[in-house]
């Protein structure tokens, strides 16, 4: 038994437990220390993942797979967590009552995501998926004195449990049709039996909920608005990436559904997700709801890469997940800073932000431009990889829809930028940015710009990871 296969997960579980003990023995005045401890631990975890590249093997009779693909995805989750903790530390310290367990639950959610990226069978996938979601139910409701937060938590729990039940029913049908839960052992079929098709539809519906694809997206704007903003950022970025990681494992790595059938379902899902997500984002007046709809649309772009179902497509998914994670957390970090200073999340309060805090204003603008896919930013490269993967297969319409909808998305992203740079501030007092927040937004800014100009740094890594996914 090679412990190297599990070293990241063992370290994460240990780290979470140590953090739990620390949060019990330290008093309320030690909150800042806990945030720093979390950051240090996450950085160590990130370093550990770098030793895991190139292992490319499985364990436990195939229920656990550690390929470069899994390692890359784990790095996306860890980087998102690091940025969220940097940006959200003081937000969390503002919580009344016990805030200490917040970081513990975040680490456990992270552990669940890691399991999703490495799962080689349905049982491992399901249990790690639930480890992530149950931690998120609690995190969403973590603002214990706010009715909004509790309401968001309950809604997320009811809809999340419902979607889990649907995923499970689909999994039971797949198990019945294939006779095994191991992805690697599922027999390939050319013509899907009705029960397999039904199972696949239920899996798509359930995972569609987890990644907030239209028409299973209705929960996300509400939950994003009600949840504490750092949790929203983590939910929008890491849990969505984990959903994609699991979807790729299930559909490209195993399920013996005839590809034509389910690729058709994914194509329809991708198209309506891109269209509805972008169109509904336009009239939003709250920044969190706007970013919620924008992240629905982003899920649609990533689905196009899934549709390609080849190394180029997976490469696009991986590259874009990283870029999306950094840019989205960057945008949410600015929202956190402005929300703490003004107490509101309306787009209007961003008026004249560049006079109040030029750093936040530039980061927000760059991140939004990257999300919109404007050329010098990294988001453009990501979209290019996703769309060219599907166009190489001679299918042009998803790329066309994606292109048109990206143009439309520029409108609502730039509207925020316009408010920031053109409007006069209602309250000219400068917004203070503490050191953690400064680090988070500067990192997001640097990554977004550097990878836009010089994408090979990341795309070489993601291409190797995508090839390892297909065993190449």
């Amino acid at each position: 038994m090679n412990f190297n296969l599990l070293s990241t997960e063992i370290a994460t579980a240990l780290f979470g437990s140590v953090l739990l003990i620390l949060s019990l023995v330290t008093g309320k005045d030690a909150r800042r220390g806990l945030g720093h401890a979390t950051l240090a631990g996450l950085l160590v975890l990130l370093l550990i993942t770098f030793t895991q590249y190139g292992i490319n093997s499985g364990g436990f009779s195939g229920t656990w797979i550690l390929d470069d693909y899994a390692v890359f995805m784990k790095q996306v989750f860890i980087i998102a967590a690091i940025l969220v903790v940097f940006a959200g530390k003081s937000y969390v310290e503002d919580f009344t009552g016990n805030c200490n367990e917040f970081y513990v639950l975040m680490v456990f959610a992270l552990l669940g995501m890691m399991g999703m990226a490495s799962a080689g069978d349905l049982i491992t996938l399901y249990v790690s998926l639930e480890t992530m979601t149950i931690s998120f139910y609690i995190l969403v409701a973590y603002n214990l004195t706010s009715g909004k937060s509790a309401e968001a938590g309950l809604k997320y729990l009811i809809l999340g449990a419902l979607s889990s039940a649907v995923i499970l029913y689909g999994m039971s049908l797949v198990y019945g049709a294939a006779g095994t839960t191991l992805f690697a052992k599922m027999p390939p079929v050319s013509v899907a039996s009705p029960v397999l098709l039904l199972g696949a539809v239920m899996l798509v519906a359930g995972f569609g909920f987890k990644i907030a694809a239209v028409p299973f997206h209705m929960w996300s704007p509400d939950i994003y608005e009600g949840a504490p903003t750092p949790v929203t950022a983590f939910l929008a970025v890491a849990s969505k990436a984990a959903g994609f990681a699991a979807m790729l494992r299930v559909f490209l790595g195993g399920t013996p559904v005839a590809p034509d059938n389910w690729l058709g379902i994914i194509a329809v899902l991708a198209a309506i997700t891109m269209i509805i997500g972008n169109l509904v984002a336009i009239p939003q007046t709250g920044i969190k709801r706007m970013l919620a709809y924008s992240s629905i649309a982003q899920a649609g772009y990533i689905l196009v890469g899934l549709m390609a179902a080849d190394p180029a497509g997976v490469n696009g998914v991986l590259f874009y997940s990283m870029i999306y994670a950094v840019a989205n957390v960057g945008a949410f970090a600015v929202v956190i800073a402005v929300e703490r200073a003004t107490g509101s999340d309306e787009i209007a309060v961003f008026g004249g932000l560049w006079q109040r805090q030029p750093l936040l204003a530039s980061v927000m603008t760059v991140c939004l431009l990257s999300l919109a896919g404007i050329p010098p930013m990294a988001g453009f490269v990501g979209k290019f990889l996703l769309f060219s993967a599907i166009m190489d297969q001679g299918i042009y319409w998803p790329a066309f829809i994606g292109f048109v909808m990206s143009m439309i998305s520029v409108y609502y992203y730039l509207r925020v930028a316009l408010v920031i740079w053109r409007d006069e501030p209602k309250d000219p007092a400068p917004i203070a940015v503490e050191s953690g927040m400064r680090l988070a937004v500067m990192a997001a800014l640097a990554v977004t710009v550097v990878l836009g100009v010089y994408p090979a740094v990341l795309s070489d890594l993601s291409l190797a990871a995508a090839k390892s996914f297909f065993g190449m």
Binding site: T63, E101, T131, I134, I138, G179, S193, L197, L198
Partner: protein
């Protein structure tokens, strides 16, 4: 009576109890009564497991679904008491009709695809007691989900305590 006939009668009896009490659980207007029928439904699902030779699972079902979960639900009902139990479980009149429609349509789709499919049936093998096989899987090939489940329970326990205790006002 042949063994097969007895098995058939048992199956129909147990399934009828499961389904009828489940219907009662989702239609009754009194939440306490609904929870009671839910417990009956759960316990008779254990009967189905016995018919399927899953003895360990039947025991787990009785312990968790017959004991722990109904108690939790009863606590949930009592701690959030609404005046009088009689109307404590109202049906949402707006969604009543399309709720019936959606579930009916889904049932038809599931049954159609189940009946149209062929499963790779294998002869029934009587084997070692299931508890031994389960233990071997749980601590062998499926050790990782087993460990993840431990973390999951820890997270759920922490969360339940934090949420139920609530925060202090500022």
């Amino acid at each position: 009576m042949s063994n097969e006939a007895v098995y058939g009668i048992m199956f129909y009896l147990v399934s009828a109890v499961v389904l009828l009490s489940a219907v009662a659980a989702v239609t009754l207007r009194n939440l306490i009564h609904a929870a009671l029928f839910l417990a009956i439904s759960f316990v008779s699902v254990a009967g189905i497991y016995v018919l399927l030779h899953a003895d360990f699972l039947a025991a787990v079902q009785v312990l968790i679904y017959g004991g722990a979960i109904p108690v939790l639900i009863a606590f949930g009902v009592m701690l959030t008491r609404t005046p009088g139990a009689a109307g404590s479980n109202p049906v949402n009149t707006k969604t009543y009709i399309w709720g019936l429609g959606i579930t009916g349509a889904l049932f038809a789709v599931i049954m159609l695809s189940l009946l149209k499919s062929k499963f790779a049936m294998q002869g029934l093998i009587s084997k070692e007691p299931s508890i031994e096989g389960l233990a071997r899987l749980m601590l062998g090939d499926f050790l990782i989900p087993f460990e993840f489940a431990a973390i999951l329970l820890l997270a759920a326990m922490i969360g339940a305590i934090i949420l139920a205790r609530g925060g202090e006002a500022k």
